[in-house]
């Protein structure tokens, strides 16, 4: 049995599309998750790439689900386009496509820092860990434990971290114990990060309870920002629904 995600990725590669794996599949690769039932991709939004994506979707006999249609005008606003595959090698498998995510840089910048995973004979480009975490800062409960776990795993695994690794942890770590640990291991880098993330001062002073509260407040603010970001997009989706009914 060829795995549905490989069938989808093979179709994207055969058609020379420019895409980045993200969402649950990327979390599996980074060790933050064990299972997911669908696939999410960030795609370059230009006419040529969208034509190639459409060709891949036709190979997969993918049908659009819900709204909006796969058009640059919607992708550029931040909408997601949803499909369900009907081909025998990926039947029932869902595909979500986006080009712009809140808090993430433009596609070409994310492409420059992509990770390549070789599975059999194919190379799968995926979002870097840093960009995957930015994309996971949503309004949903389920994404936040994932962010915490992705960083915990990365922190535990890297015995000789680069400065860039440490800066990522300092920006994104959501575990009070690890932040306090980092305060003793990397005090100078943490102090330098204070203007961008003031709660780190609580890690430097090892005030765990207050740090935990500050992390909760930080999450609440991001989730509030994500709801605000999606408000006009959801209103547009509502208008599409009503226009059709």
């Amino acid at each position: 049995m060829i795995h549905p995600i490989l069938a989808v990725i093979n179709a994207f590669i055969r058609n020379h599309t420019r895409f980045l794996l993200m969402g649950g599949q990327a979390c599996v690769l980074y060790g933050g998750s064990e299972f997911t039932r669908d696939s999410d991709f960030c795609i370059l939004c230009n006419g040529e790439n969208l034509s190639r994506i459409a060709a891949a979707l036709r190979e997969l006999q993918a049908q659009p689900v819900f709204f909006p249609p796969l058009e640059a005008q919607f992708l550029e606003k931040g909408h997601a386009c949803h499909f369900i595959c009907k081909s025998s090698d990926a039947e029932g498998f869902r595909i979500d496509l986006m080009s712009k995510m809140r808090g993430c840089p433009p596609f070409n910048e994310m492409w420059q820092t992509r990770n390549l995973l070789r599975i059999d004979s194919i190379e799968i480009p995926s979002l870097s860990l840093a960009h995957l975490i930015l994309a996971k800062k949503t309004q949903r409960d389920k994404d936040w434990p994932m962010i915490r776990r992705l960083i915990e795993n990365d922190y535990a695994a890297r015995k000789d971290p680069s400065t860039e690794d440490i800066r990522l942890w300092l920006r994104e770590c959501r575990s009070p114990g690890i932040l306090i640990d980092m305060g003793t291991r990397f005090p100078d880098l943490m102090a330098a990060q204070l203007p961008a993330r003031p709660l780190l001062r609580l890690a430097l002073s090892a005030e765990e309870d207050q740090l935990n509260d500050a992390l909760i407040d930080e999450e609440k603010e991001e989730r509030r920002n994500d709801r605000e970001y999606w408000r006009p997009l959801k209103e547009e989706l509502e208008r599409m629904r009503h226009a059709r009914s």
């Binding site: 995600i5 490989l6 006419g47 459409a54 659009p64 819900f66 029932g92 599975i119 535990a156 989706l237």
Partner: protein
């Protein structure tokens, strides 16, 4: 804090795998899930921006059951 404290043994074992090994294990898990009758339909998520009834349907509100249209450039 010692580094291993942040992971339980199951998580540590999972993370100790290479990305390729994790991907292989994931494919086996999905294969089992499908053989056991598991569904690929998305679970209802009231916090999702796409939490509209049509999103969870298995047919297209845009084009019925026809394949996706050719895409026009931006």
């Amino acid at each position: 804090m010692r580094v291993p404290d942040c992971l339980d043994s199951e998580e540590a074992a999972w993370y100790a795998l290479t990305p390729q090994e994790r991907f292989f294990q994931y494919t086996r898990l999905l294969e089992f899930y499908l053989k056991a009758g598991g569904s690929l339909a998305p679970q209802r998520d009231s916090q999702s921006p796409f939490d509209f009834p049509e999103y969870y349907e298995q047919k297209s509100p845009q084009t019925g059951n026809s394949p996706p249209p050719a895409i026009a450039g931006p």
